[in-house]
Subunit: 244 residues, 2 copies
């Protein structure tokens, strides 16, 4: 399984992905699920993937391979992030069609992508491509999108994330959301890949990999856990009708 | 859908259930999912249900109807909570067999139950019956069990609940777990049915229904929400390598 979250906020974009893949519980591996395309000063396009690893890797490989091919649209030539998302979706369709019957039988080849970034002339945008190939866009009302094991880490986002939330607070929210998910679900695991993009900077950030040893993530986890304990302990005692 | 949680703690048992049922998003109704059997001074048996409403209602009705029938085992006569759970599971099988083909076709008739309580001579116990009819028991290592939409509300339980947690803190934990679930998932809704049982009291508590207007639940929700906001804001700022 997988957990990815991306946010499209007033100040810019935040992306966070785990890196665990599994085919059954005894076939676990680490694969990066966050991929960066871009031209400094002109565009940044970030992809996050979930679902069938063979399909998502093929999609990313084909998108990379075609960057130099000016005969067809590619992620360095499409004029808008909407077109970039449509191109990723078309590539998913192409790979699934290629890898389907007769060899694949009933294997589920589907995968999902989050596509976010900014292309000069447009605002930062964020899209989610469904396994069916159609896609939706994050808005000011719903500034975050998730992939995979999204339920454990959703309450903290639902409660705290708004379009006007700062990038730093968005990032902390994402780290807490991942901590909650990783504690409750074995199929989501470290390390995490993070990327923060400041609106209109049009740089292509290297991103940052958070390992088990990361001191900041460890401090966030510890402080959050201790704070929750304290918060629970401070809640008022139930009245008599609760029979405590 | 449904969300139920039950805890088997050192001090006793805590049960909490939502009351929303839905068949599609435009067919929503309120049905109690927490049922109490018992003989004061001798036994308490609490059932919580999820899944097909026709099946779970039939199971509870049959179990009630048979309480007076001394010719066969019933929930007032079985000697242990283990036997009570086996009886509930057998009744699920009986109802599904009765209601299955030819009329039901592909309809999913399955349902799940949590069964908890205490019978004089034994300790408080808690079991979870799978839709397949087999069942597991809560232990000191894993003192809580959930049914239905369990993921949103699981992190707070995973983080804070231990066998030695007090009933009052367990109850607060359950209320926070429900608040997180209800905020993130429309298929789980108010009112909530709560029941707290003190170890060895062998009383049959009336339980308590938490409505939208409940002042204590409102204060818990408000304080928790504000506390989380504050906790997030107090987390340290990310170091430079995080690119904030």
């Amino acid at each position: 399984m997988t957990y990815c979250v991306a946010m499209c906020l007033d100040e810019g974009l935040v992306f966070a992905s785990d890196s665990r893949t599994n085919a059954g519980i005894d076939h676990i591996a680490t694969f990066r699920k966050l991929f960066t395309f871009g031209v400094p000063g002109e565009r940044l396009i970030v992809l996050q993937s979930a679902g069938n690893l063979a399909t998502s890797q093929s999609v990313v490989n084909l998108l990379k391979q075609r960057l130099g091919d000016t005969a067809q649209a590619n992620l360095h030539s499409v004029p808008t992030l909407y077109e970039a998302t449509a191109l990723v979706a078309a590539t998913v369709r192409e790979v699934v069609a290629r890898d389907a019957a007769p060899l694949a039988g009933n294997t589920d080849l589907s995968c999902s992508f989050l596509v976010g970034g900014q292309i000069a002339g447009g605002p930062p945008e964020l899209y989610s491509i469904y396994p069916q190939g159609n896609f939706i866009q994050a808005t000011e009302d719903t500034p975050f999108l998730q992939l995979g094991e999204s339920k454990y880490g959703k309450p903290i986002l639902d409660r705290n994330l708004e379009f006007t939330t700062s990038l730093a607070e968005g990032l902390r929210c994402a780290l807490v959301s991942f901590d909650s998910t990783i504690r409750s679900n074995l199929s989501v695991g470290m390390p995490l890949d993070l990327l923060v993009y400041h609106r209109d900077s049009l740089i292509v950030p290297a991103g940052y990999r958070v390992t088990e040893e990361d001191a900041y993530y460890a401090s966030i986890r510890k402080q959050w856990s201790a704070g929750l304990h304290e918060l629970l302990a401070q809640l008022p005692a139930p009245p008599p009708e609760y029979n405590i």
